[in-house]
């Protein structure tokens, strides 16, 4: 069971994902904007963050991820730097990813197209959780 923070401004999407993930045994917390999401990160201390790119602005998700992964020593979210981020894009990709995670520019762990089926979403979540948990167990 993991604590998952879902930052997305579409309540219907949140409702669906929440029911699904909770049925799969996870706890889901939600936030409907980038700022609310940042607040809830501290509150919830999630194991994984699902982050929508387009919210109030077209790139709000990017800004949230940059804040969370800020590598300066006195960064506000230093404690959460290693929380995996799964970014949801609505950019349509018929085949491969147009852009992939980039340590500096797009500091997230994975991209997923928002339209993927829920079971694929779950697969990705569990992959990221396993990867994040992995090193600690070694």
């Amino acid at each position: 069971m993991a604590k998952i923070l879902l930052i997305d401004d579409d309540p219907d999407y949140v409702a669906g994902v929440q029911i699904f993930l909770e049925a799969k045994g996870h706890r889901v917390f939600d936030a409907s904007s980038g700022n609310e999401g940042l607040e809830r990160v501290k509150e919830v201390n999630p194991d994984l963050i699902i982050l929508d790119v387009m919210m109030e602005t077209r790139t709000e998700g990017f800004h949230v991820s940059l804040k969370l992964r800020d590598r300066s020593p006195d960064a506000e979210y230093a404690a959460y730097r290693n929380v995996p981020i799964l970014m949801l894009t609505s950019i349509h990709q018929s085949t491969s990813l147009r852009f992939s995670p980039d340590e500096d520019y797009l500091p997230v762990n994975a991209f997923l197209e928002k339209s993927v089926r829920l079971d694929i979403l779950l697969e990705k979540i569990e992959e990221l959780l396993a990867a994040a948990a992995g090193p600690e167990h070694v």
Partner: protein, 615 residues
């Protein structure tokens, strides 16, 4: 035909109107000279035998024959000259001078034979003066004119001194009477110069008109040769300056509100001079021009209506011609020509500027209309993309929610309920495919120029990757999926996702519409292109459906039988993507036997390129 072909080697446009006129006139001069030579022979015969004047018969005939003789040479030379026209201006000028010079000598001989200073033939010289004034450059024309009285004076002097024999056509002879000789010479000189002046001023005005017409033609041609508005305006300003031979020209256009005149293009003027926008409410000159729709002459230093006379002084502008630009829907701006110190615009210039303005408006409105269409097209593509993006979000969410219902995440449903939800979810799924396909189609068509992510793609690798996706579905249907890929690495320049989508769609169709047998993917080199064939043993395509196969939303009737739903966009997308890769696609099919889609894409490097790449 021969001559027409030869004259094409030197483009007529390279000649000025005056030069072309000179060529035409030289031909005309040669034609006239046949009559002149014949007239000399006839006049000699009449004078000697019918009038009985003591004109020396044989020399007079000789002059007539000489005229005809050298005219024959000129005719031959003129034909050659037409062939060597690249060296045109000098050769033609000299040709004209030689012709005129020989004519004048012949004329002098005739005058001498018909009584010298007393000869009535002196008057014929006036024709030659008129011809010389029209043909020769004006600055030298007046010198030539002086030659005529000079020749007559020389003859008079030589006869008076007894060096040349005098033919006495008038009794009593006056050729030694200084008053008579002086009077004839003075009157003849005056007549020559008046004749020359009249001929030159008429031809000058005609040539100017011709130059303006040619200029106007040139302006129209250059202005309509592009649809880029700023280029149109730049060319118009430049051409206006050249044709009016003035300091510069500028076009100011009204801003969208119609309150300010903003510099749109200029030529020969400094940026600081052009940069201030003019408030139409303050600029009474421009208001007057636009209201009266006439061209105004402005004294650039003293006109009280000027807003910035000081700027004119600094720029060295002393006179301005302002013409209105009035479009179908009203005023759109002004066209101005600027003259520096000493320049004066004429009424002809004003008429010319008005004509340029009229043509400019057409060119400007064309370019604006084109620009607007381009913008609309871009907006339309953007709109399609935005709409489809917006459609995807609710579709995804509905699908998620229906899936949850269907799979019993929120309570177990009756089998009837599950059935209904499943039907709804499938329809939504189809809608998602449709929207995705539309998005692909819009993307393929819309930003041809925008996307520059083209890179070398190895087709063999790509085919293996894509076909791997279909091995499971093919196996499930009991189909054989066979790859025949050449050993040679075939690299094409394209966006990888485009090629992926093309091969993906072709394979998806092949697997979908084949019940038994095999699907074969063949890749081979064909000259400078890669040829990729997807061949199946499927249901095939009816002959009458083949021409529409790549149309948007088209589905062959037998395809609908196999699969009820399909967007009919898959092959339309393939086609637009193939075009984007600069490739071609062809289909061959026999209904009931199978289909074969052959794709040809140019290889990234030719033989030379491949060597370069290897270095």
């Amino acid at each position: 035909m021969e001559a027409a072909g030869a004259s094409h080697t030197s483009p007529p446009a390279a000649r000025s109107a005056a030069e072309q006129e000179l060529i035409n006139s030289l031909g005309w001069l040669i034609r006239m000279r046949w009559f002149a030579g014949a007239a000399v022979l006839a006049a000699t015969a009449i004078t000697v035998h019918m009038v009985g004047l003591p004109v020396p018969e044989r020399p007079a005939y000789l002059v007539g024959l000489a005229v005809l003789g050298y005219n024959l040479l000129f005719l031959a030379a003129a034909r050659r000259l037409d062939l060597v026209c690249p060296t045109f201006p000098r050769a033609c000028q000299w040709f004209a001078r030689v012709q005129i010079g020989l004519d004048w000598l012949a004329m002098a001989a005739l005058i001498s034979l018909s009584g010298g200073i007393e000869s009535p033939a002196i008057l014929f010289f006036l024709f030659h003066i008129a011809i010389a004034s029209l043909l020769l450059p004006h600055e030298k024309g007046f010198l030539y004119v002086a030659l005529a009285p000079f020749l007559v004076a020389v003859i008079a002097w030589l006869e008076a001194r007894g060096v040349l024999p005098h033919v006495a056509v008038v009794q009593p002879p006056r050729f030694r009477d200084p008053v008579f000789v002086a009077a004839v010479l003075i009157f003849f000189t005056c007549a020559s110069y008046v004749m020359a002046y009249l001929a030159m001023s008429i031809s000058r005005r005609l040539r100017r008109r011709e130059a303006e017409l040619a200029g106007l033609y040139e302006i129209v041609r250059t202005a309509t040769s592009t649809l880029d508005l700023s280029q149109v305006l730049e060319r118009l300003s430049e051409a206006t300056t050249h044709v009016l031979a003035c300091k510069g020209a500028a076009i100011r256009l009204l801003d969208p509100k119609g309150t300010r005149l903003v510099a749109a293009a200029s030529y020969g003027l400094s940026e600081s001079f052009m940069s201030p926008a003019l408030e139409l409410s303050r600029s009474s000159i421009d208001r007057e021009v636009l209201e009266s729709r006439t061209v105004l002459f402005i004294d650039a230093l003293a006109d009280p209506r000027l807003l910035y006379p000081e700027a004119n002084r600094q720029e060295g502008v002393t006179t301005i011609l302002v013409a209105p630009l009035v479009g179908k829907a009203g005023p759109i701006g002004v066209l101005r020509a600027y003259g520096a110190a000493g320049h004066e615009f004429s009424q002809d210039d004003a008429a010319f500027l008005a004509a340029v303005a009229w043509q400019s408006v057409i060119a400007i409105e064309n370019a604006q209309a084109y620009q607007m269409l381009a913008n609309i097209d871009r907006d339309k593509s953007q709109f399609v993309r935005t709409v489809t993006h917006e459609l995807r979000s609710p579709i995804q969410v509905s699908q998620n929610l229906l899936t949850l219902l269907e799979q019993g995440y929120v309570g177990v449903l009756s089998s009837e309920q599950v059935d209904l939800v499943t039907r709804a979810r499938r329809r939504i799924e189809f809608l998602q495919t449709l929207v995705d396909d539309l998005l692909d189609l819009a993307a393929g068509k819309a930003d041809l120029q925008l996307r520059t992510e083209r890179k070398p793609v190895d087709l063999g690798g790509l085919i293996r990757e894509v076909s791997a996706r279909f091995s499971a579905p093919a196996q499930a249907k009991g189909l054989r999926l066979r790859l025949e890929v050449t050993e040679e690495a075939l690299t094409v320049q394209a966006e990888p996702t485009d090629l992926d989508r093309i091969v993906n769609n072709l394979l998806a169709n092949a697997v979908r519409y084949t019940r038994k047998g095999e699907v074969v993917i063949n890749l081979a080199r064909e000259g400078d292109a890669a040829r990729l064939t997807v061949r199946d043993t499927g249901i095939g395509i009816p002959e009458d459906a083949l021409p529409h196969l790549f149309d948007e939303f088209f589905r062959a009737p037998n395809a609908k039988v196999v699969e009820e739903r399909g967007t009919g966009l898959g092959l339309a997308i393939v086609k637009s993507l193939v075009e984007r890769c600069h490739g071609t696609i062809e289909v061959q099919s026999t209904e009931g036997e199978g289909s074969s889609f052959a794709l040809r894409v140019p290889l990234a490097f030719g033989a030379a390129g491949a060597r370069d790449a290897a270095v």
